[in-house]
Symmetry: C2
């Protein structure tokens, strides 16, 4: 069922490209136009069937009824500002960035129907080579409406993500950033620091445990530096809390307090059980 | 090809039971006898085809030509001491504990043909319910001989692990514990502390990243408290180095030093590539 006539996706990487692919396969859009900083990416996205046309410039947003900002988190605000004057007044603009407070505050003030979205569907892989139309199936998409959000727009975007197979959770942008600071940005920071702690000569002796705990340390360094900086204060808070928990474990170990150690590990077992 | 006439496995959990299963399926042992603290476990192991007979007491080691100590790490030395006087002089005794220095030093002094082994083949699951005969295929088994180790015994045990599909790495017990402090015990400690940092109300909003980085925080709390304590000083060293790496990342973030942040994350990308 066609939901949009003309969709423009800015940024045809893993998320943007997979969105295009899913929109087209499910015939949710009349036509999908893709733009990328690198012409090569848009060409690959077109070849993969993720977009119908390659946009020549940001001016293509003119007749769009949906624009999706799917570039790295630090460029979203800038792009949103650039397209704000060119879009139709009814055009819905969403982004898929990993932090929301700043983006929603800036672009919500400029674009009448802006809605922040964050599909928890990425991976350590990136780029058009890893497109998957099913990437959103069974995943969670967080939508971050504000008091200004039009209810019809909200419902339409909720339906869009549902059609793509995602479960929707609604959070305020502030809450989103606080939660994701813990559930996504903290594990990434730890994975990077963990692999950096392993002496080179021991890397060949890894167990599955090390492989799993450091998988996301393959995530793109440039992209993730920006994500960390975009949610800096929440990540710093999460890091402080983590350091307290680690210190508690370390103290129990230092003092050979087996009872306390077991207590800490049992709590972890219980919390891990509750992970969604 | 039968390598042993009578194998006694003390501790028929995930590793001990899987060893029995593999020994029997590959007809490497004439007869496999299993003992467990909990009668129920030995009965389940027998039902699963992991052992031929249930041993009534430690006295069954009498005519064994191979004894495998596969109990939690804190009970291995005690069990080794108990069987030392009852075994034949040619009997080979191996353990599969996660730390080696203390075990090898104590039991190497008591048992003429003792050899420390550590198959990196566990998982966060435990117990007889998760037995897998293929668990060692493609895995690494670390063997920790000393100057006292008989060459014929070493070769036989190397052949045993090779028959089970493991690649063998030989390390001194001291080196083993230093390396594993980083590659196994550190990731476990971090996974426990990480999941303990996540606010309960955010547990439902996890991404694949959090799921992967905390998978091993499901590992048995009692078992892992003992493993941590058994390799306490190496783990404390690894934790200190990790804390330095994390502090470097935190400082770059605090000072909004994007260049430094990218440098840290790029190094992590490179190191992760080298993971065996």
């Amino acid at each position: 069922m066609k939901m949009f006539n003309r969709v423009v996706i800015i940024g045809t990487g893993l998320i943007g490209g997979s969105l295009g692919l899913a929109l087209k396969k499910q015939r949710l859009a009349g036509c999908v136009i893709g733009l990328s900083r690198h012409q090569k990416n848009s060409r690959l996205a077109k070849k993969a069937g993720a977009i119908d046309h390659i946009g020549e410039s940001l001016a293509v947003v003119k007749d769009a009824d949906l624009v999706i900002l799917a570039t790295p988190v630090n460029t979203i605000i800038d792009l949103g500002e650039k397209i704000a004057a060119n879009i139709n007044k009814d055009c819905i603009v969403i982004d898929v960035g990993s932090s929301k407070e700043r983006i929603v505050s800036k672009l919500g003030a400029l674009i009448p129907h802006f809605l922040g979205c964050h599909p928890l569907a990425g991976s350590e892989k990136k780029g058009v080579a890893n497109l998957e139309e099913d990437i959103f199936k069974g995943s969670i998409c967080i939508i971050t409406p504000t008091v200004k959000t039009n209810r019809r727009v909200l419902n339409k975007i909720k339906r869009l993500w549902k059609e793509l197979g995602a479960d929707i959770i609604m959070l305020s942008p502030k809450k989103h950033d606080r939660v994701l600071g813990f559930t996504s940005h903290l594990p990434h920071a730890l994975a990077y620091a963990l692999i950096n702690s392993i002496p080179d000569r021991s890397l060949g002796l890894s167990s599955n445990g090390l492989r799993d705990t450091t998988r996301i340390s393959s995530s793109d360094a440039y992209l993730w530096s920006e994500i960390f900086l975009s949610n800096r204060s929440n990540l710093l808070t999460a890091l402080s809390i983590f350091q307290k928990k680690l210190t508690a474990l370390k103290l129990a170990l230092e003092s050979k307090n087996k009872g306390q150690l077991i207590k800490i590990l049992l709590l972890a077992n219980q919390k891990r059980e509750k992970l969604g």
